[in-house]
Structure formats: structure tokens, C-alpha cells
């Protein structure tokens, strides 16, 4: 009696899709040609623009800012999880890692400024005036993040 055991290779594509920035093996090759930051820029810009378009006419400024920053933070977190996988796989060059670290740390700085502004506004007794000022800080920092990453890819 012959006992046939089917050995099926593990499907790594679904893992890749869930946990990497790049979506597929074919696209992953783009990193090696220096396109990583361009993709990151496109992602952040599109997140901010789409979120602004979606929310512009139907929600308060605070809700719009909350959704915009929230979508950005979630997508950056997802992208960075994928980047971590890429680095651990030994596929990222030293210069690519340095560029992504720099961009990410600037992003963190921007988010920290926005964080302080929002906390100040939400806890201050002055109310709406303080909140309006804080939201301007948030909006200007979103723009500076996009500009920063845009400069990095040039």
C-alpha cells in the first residue's frame, strides 16, 4: 500500500499582503529600486486628501482632524509593521533603513506636537478658541509631514 502525502508549500502571499507595505512579491522589488519612500508618500498624501474630502462637508473641524490624523496614524502603523517584516527578512539596505527611520522620527515629532495641542485644547477651560488654535496646529503639522516625505523622495 502506498501512502501518498501531499506536501503543499505554505502560501506566504497572504501573510505578505497582510503584513507588508508592498502587497506582493513583484511589487516588493520596487523597494530595491528606491521607490519605498515614494510609495509611503503617496499613501500618506492620499490618506489625508481622501479623508479631507470625505469629511469636509459633513463633520465638525475637530471630527475631520480626528479622522484625518487617525487614518494617517493607522496607515503609517500598518506600513511600518510591513517595513519591520522587510527589515527582518534582510531585504532593506542600510541607506533605506536610515531614510525610513528619519522620516518616521519626523512623523513622530509632528504627531507629538499635535498631541500636545489637542490635549491643551481639550483640557483648557477656554474652550472653542483654544480648540480652534490647536486644530490649526494639527492641520499645519499634517502638511509639514507630507512636505517632509515629499522632499525625501526627490
Amino acid at each position: 500500500m502506498v501512502c501518498a502525502i501531499s506536501i503543499k508549500p505554505m502560501n506566504t502571499n497572504s501573510f505578505r499582503r497582510y503584513h507588508t507595505l508592498f502587497g506582493s512579491v513583484a511589487v516588493a522589488g520596487n523597494v530595491e529600486s528606491g521607490r519605498l519612500l515614494w510609495r509611503l508618500t503617496a499613501m500618506v498624501v492620499s490618506a489625508i486628501m481622501v479623508s479631507a474630502l470625505l469629511c469636509g462637508g459633513c463633520a465638525s473641524r475637530e471630527t475631520t482632524a480626528y479622522r484625518t490624523l487617525g487614518v494617517t496614524a493607522n496607515l503609517v502603523d500598518g506600513a511600518m509593521n510591513g517595513w519591520g517584516d522587510w527589515v527582518r527578512a534582510g531585504r532593506a539596505t542600510t541607506s533605506e533603513q536610515a531614510a525610513v527611520r528619519y522620516a518616521y522620527e519626523r512623523y513622530q515629532t509632528t504627531m507629538a506636537v499635535a498631541h500636545k495641542a489637542v490635549v491643551a485644547a481639550k483640557t483648557a477651560p477656554a474652550g472653542t478658541d483654544t480648540l480652534a488654535t490647536a486644530l490649526k496646529v494639527v492641520e499645519s503639522n499634517q502638511a509639514s509631514l507630507v512636505n517632509l516625505i515629499g522632499k525625501l523622495v526627490k
Partner: protein, 57 residues
């Protein structure tokens, strides 16, 4: 493009955790400070946290 498409794209590209996070954002109309804190905590992970190996964790 509507919210559902954004969430579906996030699901396909980054998985259910990211998609769920984005969906929750669009369910809030008047975010509280606690809601804001959940957004900012995502940006507090360091670069090294993302790239460290399982042995480092």
C-alpha cells in the same frame, strides 16, 4: 470614493487590524480626549520597536 472603499483597501493591504481601526474612526462624531489618545498612541512606537526581531521582544 467612499468610506467603505477606504476600509476595504486597508483590509486588503494591511489586514483586519488596520481596517478595524479606520472603521472605528468613522463611527465617532465628537471625539473625546480618550479617542484622540488612541490615535496618538499609535505614533509612540519607536522605529526600533517595528524592526526588532522576536528575540529582542
Amino acid at each position: 470614493m467612499n468610506t467603505a472603499i477606504i476600509i476595504a483597501q486597508a483590509l486588503l493591504k494591511y489586514g483586519p487590524a488596520v481596517a478595524r481601526g479606520i472603521a472605528e474612526l468613522f463611527q465617532k462624531t465628537d471625539p473625546t480626549l480618550a479617542d484622540w489618545e488612541k490615535v496618538f498612541v499609535l505614533a509612540e512606537k519607536s522605529y526600533d520597536d517595528y524592526v526588532k526581531t522576536p528575540e529582542d521582544k
